[in-house]
């Protein structure tokens, strides 16, 4: 042990070397864990304020105290999570400065001013958060309440800018501007030129959405635990509702996430086709099969939660016969999406397969089939949600039947467009085929937007078939929320590996080469162990954070009586 300690101290003290070493687990694992766990906490503390602010606004406008309490409970979870994020951020900086000196020196030479700004904004964000949380009860009613809500907006603004700055560092490593060469003095590179690189904005947008998904999933898991631990029906009802809201937010944002992913992928291809091919068809090709499996788990579990949830909604039984068909579509879609196509393979494997593609399954592995599958899965999930939403109501507007027929027709048209372009894609050039995915996505998004619009109008004055019996959910539904949270977190780790790994043996793509003994990018097996370890560390710490939050304040569930009485005062 003493020897390891001495080694660690030597590594920290010796700044003449390009890289340091870390005892027991090695430098790569140390950097990996520090970066990944910090990122997971950062995603949580950036995602949660977004819907805390939305929930607070719904509470003010709708005069519903439940949403205000929900927003406050989210924010309470943030306080300790925020400290954990900062601690892991400090761990990461120290690890980088002592183990990763060569690239760290390069990056600080390029980005130093933005790092100072990052720290300043971090202060702003921290104090805005404290003000937002501790001022909650002081500015609870009337105009000051809107001022308080403004603080929430400001909190999101600081957080978003902080994330954008950090994103510029990592995207620069992936896609440095083309005029920067190995001989370019980093001190001469203009800061904005380095920040506004090819993948900066796509990553910003992708992470913004992904943080919402992630935050929603973690909050839903928190609520599910509190549901399982609840001692009264009222408490159980509150956490059932909270779990539903968290899951709803996560699944809604998940639906648009693939589109942001397409944009990022396209930018990577446009920047350097060989990098794109390494990602999709090179040594990382198997990663997408794993990703497809994880997405399938998310879709199936998310829908499963909704279908079980319909059991506590009076009137939902009329939709139950349809769920098995939805399940069939989801399973078939998942199988198609998970079909390998462009696999890196050696000559023996190619010979065993009988060619570069499987003679039968190869046809299902192409983008035409996969895009069709994922779009149909999104449509199916939306249909599940629609049934859930309409379960305990019967529309009474005179045009209700026509509206439902139009909604059905919209689903049919969207599915037909998706299928048509999916099949047509087999008969056209690749460049034309890529354009078809835009039509498929537009058809699905249009369907979601217009069907929702019609549904909102149809729900006006709708006859209620009974109130949702919050809290009357079987425990297995709550375990489904845990699976969703673990899967989202694991998927985040996997995609982080994909993004970082496509640089291969470059710290900064084709500018600064990785000359350490860890320069080779590891295979998925090693990566999966690291991801699982990081997820475990993160979830364990989050559980501790939540436990601490519970110690600080009693459960904030709102009893039904308080819901009515307290609600009237909010916003007045």
């Amino acid at each position: 042990m003493t020897q390891h300690l001495v080694l660690a101290l030597q590594a920290a003290a010796d700044t003449t070397r390009a890289y340091g070493e870390f005892p027991l687990i090695g430098a790569r694992a140390a950097v990996w864990i520090a970066a990944e766990v910090h990122l997971m906490f950062a995603a949580f503390v950036l995602g949660v304020p977004m819907f805390a602010v939305v929930a607070e606004a719904i509470g003010i406008v709708g005069k519903d105290a439940r949403y205000d309490r929900l927003a406050k409970e989210f924010t309470r979870l943030l306080l300790v999570a925020y400290s954990a994020t900062a601690i892991w951020g400090a761990v990461l900086v120290f690890i980088l400065a002592t183990l990763w000196m060569k690239p760290w020196a390069y990056l600080t030479a390029v980005f130093a001013p933005s790092m100072w700004l990052y720290v300043a904004l971090f202060f702003c964000e921290s104090f805005t958060l404290y003000l937002y949380y501790y001022g909650w009860d002081r500015w609870k009613y009337g105009r000051p309440k809107w001022g308080h809500w403004g603080l929430g907006l400001l909190l999101n603004l600081w957080g978003t800018i902080v994330m954008f700055i950090a994103n510029s560092w990592l995207t620069y490593m992936m896609t440095p501007p083309r005029d920067i060469t190995p001989t370019t003095d980093p001190a001469t590179i203009k800061l904005w030129h380095a920040i506004a690189n090819a993948t900066w904005m796509p990553i910003n947008v992708h992470r913004l959405i992904a943080n919402v998904v992630f935050g929603g999933a973690i909050v839903a898991a928190y609520a599910s635990y509190r549901f399982l631990a609840a001692k009264t029906d009222a408490e159980r009802a509150h956490y059932d509702w909270m779990g539903y809201v968290g899951n709803f937010i996560a699944m809604s944002a998940l639906i648009v996430l693939p589109f942001a992913g397409y944009w990022l992928g396209r930018e990577i291809y446009q920047y350097d086709q060989s990098m794109g091919i390494t990602m999709m068809g090179g040594f990382m090709s198997w990663l997408w099969v794993i990703q497809a499996f994880l997405i399938a788990v998310l879709f199936l579990t998310g829908n499963y939660y909704l279908w079980i949830g319909m059991g506590r909604i009076p009137g939902a039984e009329r939709f139950r016969p349809y769920t098995k068909w939805l399940l069939v579509v989801l399973v078939l879609g998942a199988i198609v999406w998970g079909t390998p196509h462009t696999m890196i393979a050696d000559s023996k494997e190619l010979a065993a397969m009988g060619g570069s593609h499987h003679p039968f399954l190869g046809a299902l592995g192409v983008m035409s089939a996969k895009n069709t599958a994922v779009n149909l899965m999104i449509l199916t999930t939306f249909l599940s949600f629609l049934m859930y939403r309409r379960a305990n109501t019967r529309p009474v507007v005179p045009w209700a039947r026509t509206g439902t027929i139009i909604q059905g027709a919209m689903f049919a048209v969207a599915a037909a467009v998706v299928l048509f372009y999916g099949i047509r894609g087999y008969f056209v050039e690749a460049i034309v085929r890529i354009g078809f995915s835009v039509y498929q996505v537009l058809a699905v998004l249009s369907c979601i937007v217009f069907v929702t619009l019609i549904d909102i109008l149809m729900a006006r004055g709708a006859q209620s078939l009974g109130a949702i019996q919050w809290g009357k959910m079987p425990p297995r539904s709550q375990y489904a929320l845990f699976i969703l949270a673990v899967t989202f977190t694991w998927l985040m780790g996997l995609m982080g590996f994909a993004r970082s790994g496509i640089r291969q043996y470059w710290h900064v793509w084709q500018v600064v080469q990785d000359t350490s003994k860890y320069a080779a990018t590891p295979a998925l097996g090693y990566a999966s162990k690291m991801i699982s370890l990081c997820v475990l560390i993160f979830l364990t710490l989050v559980a501790f954070v939540f436990w601490l939050g519970g110690l600080a304040e009693k459960s904030t569930f709102v009893a039904p009586a308080e819901r009515e009485g307290g609600g009237r005062r909010v916003g007045h």
């Binding site: 190995p182 393979a345 000559s347 699976i483």
Partner: protein, 266 residues
């Protein structure tokens, strides 16, 4: 409550274990760092083919396009009924042996474009050392044919060729053995693979025949050192194609000689 806690822990650990297990069951492919290839005088065809397979799957980047069935012809599997590359290479061009055909395809890929494909392949003799090139040829021959590459095919001067960054004749001594003859530098650097000059070369990049009327020596020097510093009109879509490394691959004297030579092409 303990039962609930245990169930939650079990679900979390079980889910993590499942994902980790699946990721470890699929083929494990690691992205290796390009290694120096050193072949002795007594190298056997088997050793050459084995070394070539590593280059093919690694630093050569061949799998980036070959084997996908869309960007480039299949080499390790059948291509339109003609068999694998080792079986068909000797029949592709009349009078050319498999070895000759493969070398020329790597040295001048535009010479033999297979019908249905675009001329997108880079000049591999500029990317890889001669040892790596001949090892790849041996590997390709082994795919359905007989390997006839021997140590005598590999130029004796190439025994110290190492990685891709110095391959192609560059390095601290510069192109063409450090010669300051502009034509020798142009030939060694492979400029005419993309540019045209005095009626020779390709027209993928701007014609250099009258480059002196558009750029002075300083501008040409800057363009070679930093290809993105200015992009000729009409070639914006090809921005980034010209290697950034010429400035580090030729000596200062060579750079100056080349810049003056081209500037004189009014």
């Amino acid at each position: 409550m303990w039962a609930t806690n245990l169930k939650v822990v079990g679900i979390v650990l079980g889910t993590l274990a499942l994902y980790t297990l699946i990721a470890n069951k699929i083929p494990q492919v690691q992205s290796e760092v390009p290694q120096t290839l050193t072949l002795g005088a007594n190298v056997t065809p088997e050793q050459l083919a084995a070394a070539g397979e590593k280059v093919f799957n690694g630093i050569g980047g061949c799998t980036t396009c070959h084997g996908l069935g869309t960007r480039a012809p299949n080499l390790l599997t059948d291509e339109q009924g003609a068999g694998t590359i080792g079986a068909r290479c000797g029949k592709r061009e009349a009078g050319k042996s498999c070895k000759q055909y493969l070398y020329e395809s790597l040295d001048n890929p535009k010479a033999y474009i297979v019908a249905g494909y675009q001329p997108i392949m880079p000049v591999m003799t500029k990317q890889l050392s001669p040892q790596q090139i001949w090892a790849v040829i041996a590997f390709l021959e082994s795919q359905g044919g007989a390997v006839d590459v021997t140590a005598s095919d590999i130029p004796a001067t190439s025994s110290t060729s190492t990685t891709s960054t110095t391959a192609g004749g560059g390095g601290s001594g510069g192109f063409a053995g450090g010669s300051t003859d502009p034509k020798a530098i142009i030939a060694a650097a492979g400029c005419l693979v993309c540019h045209k000059l005095d009626g020779q070369g390709q027209v993928i990049a701007p014609d250099l025949t009258h480059v002196g009327s558009r750029r002075n020596a300083e501008s040409i020097r800057k363009k070679i050192l930093d290809p993105m510093s200015s992009i000729a009109k009409g070639y914006e879509k090809l921005a980034g194609i010209m290697p950034k490394t010429f400035g580090t691959m030729m000596s200062a004297a060579q750079l100056e000689a080349l810049a003056q030579f081209l500037a004189a092409h009014k």
